[in-house]
Symmetry: C2
Subunit: 340 residues, 2 copies
DNA sequence: TATAATAGTTTAAACGTTTAAACATAATTT
DNA sequence: AAATTATGTTTAAACGTTTAAACTATTATA
C-alpha cells in the first residue's frame, strides 16, 4: 500500500526556504513584477522536480472559481453528440476551461442527476443539447441563475441563450437545389416529434415547395421513432406508390437517410437518375454506400465554437439579454456519379 | 448582474439554530444514531427548501477524496469509444463516483494535458483506452502511483491492470465457424499497426486456419490506415484475384468491414453464397446494408463493468498485484437471408 | 540626515467542509 | 445522592490555496 505524497506548496516553500505565499505568486505568474528572477526560477525548478500539480479543490474553494464547464448531451452514443463534444472540448480547453461531459441518454432523471452533479462540482456554466421533454429542467436551471447555453435544440417559448443550425434554411435549400436540378415531385420523410427544430425543417420544406410551385399535398410522411426500421420502409413505399414519378426524397435526419439508402439499394432504385436521395448530417458511412448521396451538412464546428463563446460571455456577464443565433450550414453534393 | 447566493451549511445552521457541524452530520447521514429525529428532519427540510448542494471543493479538500474517476478515450468520435463511455458512465455513477471524460483524439500532447488536468482535479483513478504510441505516458502514470486500468488495448510488456476483449478468441472463433459452414478459402483483412490487440487477432486467424488445415499463405492483407478507402478496395480485389474461389473474408475492424460491404455491393458479389463477409464490432448500420453479415460482437458491457470494478478495487487497495482479464465476446450470425 | 519610494518577501485570514473530541443535560444505575 | 451511562449538540482544528496588507531592507530623494 504505497503512500503517495502529493507535492503541495508547502513542500516547495520549505525546499526553497521561502514562504508559501511567494511560491503561490510565482507559480501563478501573479508576481506584481516584484519577485526576484533568481527566486522565481528556483521555485519553478523545484516545482517541476517535485512534479507539483495544483490542488483544484483548495484553489477552487479559495477563489470561488472552478474554471469548469459542464456539457450535457442528449445521447453520447449518437454520432452527432460525439462530434459536437469533441469540438466543444477543444474549444473549451483553448479558452482555459475544463470540460465535464455527461450524457443523459434521453432519460430525464439522469438529466437531473447530472445537473446536480455539475452544480456540486461548481461548474461555472452549462452547455446543453437538450432532449425532448426536458423543458422543465431547463427552466429550473434558468431560475437558479446558472449560466447556460442550449445547443442544436431550443425552446422558442423560453428566453434563453442558444446556438443552433438554421433548420428552416436547411430544408429550404435542399428543396430549392432539387428543383434547380429539375426535380418535379419531391417527397419528405421526417420524424414525428415535438422538437421545434423538426418543425422548422418541415416549414422550410413546405415554404420552398410552395414558392417553387410544386405540390406538397401527400408528399410528407412523419414516422414514429419506435420501430423506425419498418416505419421508414413503409413510409417510403407509400410515398412512391401514391406519387408515381416521384423523383426525389429528402430525409430529415441521418438515421432516416440511412434507411432511405437501404431501401434504395434493396429495391434497386436508380439513384440519382430515377430518384434522388438527399440526406441530413454528415455520416462517416455515406460514402461507403454504392449510391451517390447529397446531404445537408450542419455547421457543427461553428455551432460548437459559438456556443462556447456565448457561454463564456454569459459567465463573464451574467444576466445579460439572451444571445441567440442560428447558423446556416451547407449542401454537400454527391460526388458526380459515373466516376468511380 | 444578479448575485446568486449559494446556500452553505452555515445558512442552514443559522436557520435551524444549530451548529454547522450538526447540519453536516445530518446531511451526511453520519449521525452516530444520536441525533434527535426532529432536529434531523428540520435540517433536511431547510436544506431542501434552500436548495443546498454540497460544495465539492470544500468537501474534497477536507476529506482528501474526490469521488471522481477519469476516463480517457483514444477518440470520442469513434462509436466504440462513445458506447464504452456510456456504459462506464452508468457503472461509475452506480458505484457513487463521478466520471470525467476526456478524448485524446490520438494526439499525445492532448493525452498529457488530460492526465495533468485529471490529476489536478484529484481523480482517484483513471480508466484509459490508450492509443498506439502512448506507452510512455502510461508508464508515467504507473510511476506516479495513480490507480489506473487500461481498457480494450494493453501493453503486454507492462505489468498493468487491464480489461479487454479476447482478441485471439474472436478471430479464432470466426474462422472456425466459417469452416464449420463449409468455407474453404478464407481471407483476412486487417490493419497495419503495432497494437498488440491486432496481433492477437492475426494470431487467432492463423492458428485457427492451421488447426483446420486450411491455407494461410497469401490470404492475409494488412492495410495502411492512411487512405483506407483505396487501400481496402485494392486489398480485397488482390485477395480475390490471387485466390480464385475464395469463399469468405474476415475483417478485423468495423471500418474495414464497412468497406468490405461497400466492395461487395458495388461489385455485385453474391453474399453470402458465393462469398461470406464476416465483420468485427457491432455497428448500428450493418443491418441497413442489403447484405447479410455476421460479426463478432465485443463484450462491451462486460468490459466496461469489469474495468470499473477493477479500478475501484485498485483505489481501495492500491499497489495490489495487477488485475488482468480478457473477456470473450460472441459471434452474431446474420439473419438468415431470404427472409426479408 | 531624515524621508520617501522601491523591491522583495512574509503574515495571516479566508474559502466551506468534516470530524474527533469536548461539552451539557437527562436518564439510569449504584 | 453520587456516579455512571446515554443522548444530543457544539467546539475547534484542519484540508491547500490565494491575496490584501504588512513588513523589511535597500536605494533614491529632499
Amino acid at each position: 500500500m504505497k503512500k503517495l505524497h502529493k507535492t503541495k506548496l508547502k513542500d516547495i516553500a520549505q525546499e526553497a526556504k521561502v514562504s508559501v505565499a511567494l511560491v503561490s505568486y510565482v507559480l501563478n505568474g501573479r508576481h506584481s513584477g516584484r519577485i526576484k528572477k533568481e527566486t522565481a526560477d528556483k521555485i519553478k525548478a523545484i516545482a517541476k522536480r517535485l512534479d507539483y500539480h495544483t490542488n483544484s479543490f483548495a484553489k477552487g474553494l479559495r477563489t470561488q472559481k472552478s474554471n469548469t464547464i459542464g456539457l450535457i448531451l442528449a445521447d453520447l452514443a449518437n454520432p452527432f453528440s460525439a462530434q459536437i463534444a469533441r469540438i466543444i472540448e477543444d474549444k473549451v480547453m483553448e479558452r482555459g476551461y475544463i470540460l465535464l461531459i455527461g450524457s443523459m441518454d434521453e432519460d430525464i432523471s439522469k438529466f437531473r442527476r447530472l445537473i446536480d452533479t455539475f452544480i456540486k462540482q461548481q461548474v461555472e456554466g452549462l452547455l446543453i443539447v437538450p432532449s425532448e421533454n426536458s423543458i422543465k429542467e431547463i427552466e429550473d436551471i434558468q431560475r437558479k441563475g446558472i449560466s447556460c447555453v442550449l445547443i442544436d435544440r431550443y425552446f422558442p417559448s423560453l428566453s434563453f441563450n442558444y446556438v443552433a443550425n438554421d433548420n428552416y434554411f436547411s430544408t429550404y435549400t435542399c428543396v430549392m437545389n432539387m428543383i434547380e436540378n429539375g426535380k418535379k415531385t419531391i417527397g419528405f420523410i421526417t420524424q414525428k416529434t415535438d422538437y421545434f427544430h423538426f418543425h422548422e425543417r418541415r416549414r422550410g420544406f413546405d415554404d420552398a415547395c410552395r414558392e417553387a410551385g410544386v405540390d406538397v399535398e401527400n408528399r410528407v410522411r412523419e414516422v414514429d421513432k419506435s420501430d423506425l426500421n419498418n416505419n421508414v420502409e413503409r413510409a417510403i413505399s407509400e410515398l412512391l406508390d401514391e406519387n408515381p414519378g416521384m423523383d426525389a426524397i429528402l430525409f430529415s435526419t441521418n438515421m432516416l437517410t440511412l434507411h432511405g439508402l437501404k431501401y434504395a439499394i434493396r429495391n434497386n432504385l436508380n439513384v440519382p437518375d430515377q430518384i434522388e436521395i438527399m440526406g441530413f448530417d454528415e455520416v462517416q458511412y455515406y460514402d461507403i454506400f454504392p449510391v451517390p448521396i447529397s446531404y445537408f451538412k450542419q455547421p457543427l464546428e461553428q455551432i460548437g465554437h459559438k456556443a462556447v463563446e456565448y457561454l463564456i460571455a454569459e459567465i463573464d456577464n451574467p444576466g445579460q439579454p439572451p444571445l441567440q443565433q442560428v447558423i446556416k450550414g451547407e449542401l454537400v453534393m454527391a460526388a458526380q456519379s459515373g466516376v468511380e
